[in-house]
Symmetry: C2
Subunit: 341 residues, 2 copies
């Protein structure tokens, strides 16, 4: 049975119908009598028929696939995003194909309009700016496209308001005045991987402090590489400079975690002497008792999918730029009293 060579014709013969009828059953058309339907299904079963995807794609011109281009996979943000996108796509019988831009070579291959990622019905690009990615900023293939986590005037975009998130963090810390520091991540220019989110977060943070009448001195912005000990270096820098009560805003939880670590090793009671905020609400942030800013990633993913499907249906609809609002997650690291951990 089923050597993979059973075609719709075999099924039709076996069921005593014509191929198009089998096709109708296969594609769930309503106008098939219950009787023939079961007969066809039985034939499919006994012959072990497996539809030939290549033929279907060829014939219909649709792959039922959406390509998702992103910098990497493995961080919490992307895993949650992918799952959200995946789940939503499945509701419409679509599959997601993942294309993490792990190396320069891959990027170069994706400049070819015939490359694998463009063999899809639509394109989702997360955290990457087409202007930096492709020569002339033009996506090689002419596919319906939605950008996630990055703004661009020429595409449908789904973003989170990072400025607002930073503002929320700033507002929150400003309620408990202290010498305040921000730990930033180096974002190189002209890199494909520069979405500017960290810059935005800092900007909002500064604004909040300004509005609260506690402007952040420029020298209190510590910029570090996003490396295996960036956060620790920043923490040491801060503690060298300042002894009294401190507020620290780290532009992502990963950084905040390292800062927290360093603080704890110095027996500084987090939440009292030092208050610390992160950004992202990583799953372990709660365990760390880390105050942070939560992004509605699942909602963004689902929205992006819906938007893409709409764009696929109506290529000429006007552009949508959806902005999601982040939320404050207040925990021990900015409350009084308990130590964080």
């Amino acid at each position: 049975m089923g050597q993979g060579k059973v075609t719709i014709l075999d099924v039709a013969k076996h069921a005593g119908v014509v191929p198009s009828t089998v096709s109708r059953v296969l594609n769930g058309y309503p106008d098939v009598s219950e009787e023939t339907r079961t007969r066809v299904l039985k034939a499919i079963e006994t012959l072990g028929y497996k539809p030939n995807r290549a033929a279907r794609v060829f014939r219909t011109g649709r792959t039922q696939t959406v390509s998702l281009i992103l910098p990497m996979v493995g961080t919490d943000f992307y895993i949650r995003l992918i799952n959200a996108i995946d789940g939503e796509l499945a509701r419409y019988d679509y599959d997601a194909a993942l294309f993490p831009l792990l190396s320069q070579r891959r990027l170069e291959r994706y400049r070819d309009p015939g490359a694998l990622p463009y063999h899809a019905d639509g394109l989702l690009i997360s955290s990457l700016n087409p202007d930096h990615l492709f020569p002339g900023g033009k996506i090689p293939a002419d596919l319906p496209t939605v950008l996630i986590d990055i703004y661009h005037p020429a595409y449908d975009t789904v973003t989170v308001d990072n400025v607002k998130g930073g503002y929320l963090a700033g507002e929150h810390l400003a309620e408990r005045p202290a010498e305040t520091f921000a730990v930033m991540v180096e974002e190189r220019f002209n890199t494909p991987f520069a979405s500017g989110v960290f810059r935005d977060r800092l900007q909002g943070f500064k604004q909040a402090l300004l509005d609260a009448g506690q402007p952040l001195p420029e020298e209190n912005v510590i910029t570090v590489e996003f490396s295996w000990d960036g956060g620790r270096i920043a923490a040491r820098e801060i503690l060298n400079r300042c002894r009294g009560p401190i507020n620290v805003f780290a532009s992502c939880d990963l950084l905040a975690r390292d800062v927290m670590d360093e603080l704890r090793h110095r027996d500084l009671p987090i939440g009292r002497e030092v208050r610390l905020m992160g950004f992202d609400d990583q799953p372990w942030a709660e365990d760390c008792n880390l105050s942070t800013v939560r992004q509605p990633i699942e909602a963004m993913g689902a929205f992006a999918v819906k938007l893409l499907l709409k764009r696929m249906k109506e290529p000429d609809r006007k552009l949508t730029h959806k902005v999601f609002e982040p939320q404050l997650a207040v925990r021990g690291s900015t409350k009084g009293g308990e130590s964080g951990g």
Copy 2:
């Protein structure tokens, strides 16, 4: 020009030849006169012809694509592996499609023989045991398959000798006798994600100590969750138990890094009072001055690809089980003198 609707027929007409000739040019057949070849190429150029991948796949039955199923993407091991595989595949005009098993839902979808990953000419599976992955251990689609980083008697496999790696680490540490500990990562049974590498590393390590006449007491094996603070917990445990000179073998660099961190915070001179070994040789291991065990990941990836291509050519060739040997990378964390960092 080139609305994506230009076919090989248009090109043929424009060049004054017949479609099959265009096809011959497209596929680099030798028996085409230089004159017609250039004429065809010019036609392709001016019309902006882009070959229709779907049609080609349909016609030839080949996708020129290999699917790579792995637990995740983003760790150094997988990034290096993917790049190696990618590069080797490109030499043979193949593309790699990545399928990280990020969620249970994805796994379930991949149980369907019609799922996207099986729409390929071959399958590479890294670090995942088909027996745990699929019901009955049978890969849903009947594709040429090579397993990487995991052994299985029924498939071509490419592995690294983790037992040997652990042995090398053990031998190395045994040269400087001290109270010795091993930090293990919890590997749950019946999980798709249990490849057993950590177990193998520990086994080799124990054997080396045994052979050196310094058997490792069972209670000196510290098992931790692979979480954000597993290494630190282990380090504290070790330091609570023991004061004198210590040898620590962490079953991966990530863990070793956290152990090292905790040690440094206690001002324990790494390489003197405490000697520490990791496993994997992460890119930052050298910066940390961490002694570790290096895996020939690039060689493994390239070999796996070659093996897969052979299997695709000759489905009936006998199974290959290639085992690569790891190498010791000795650095400051196990040398005398300098502190690690």
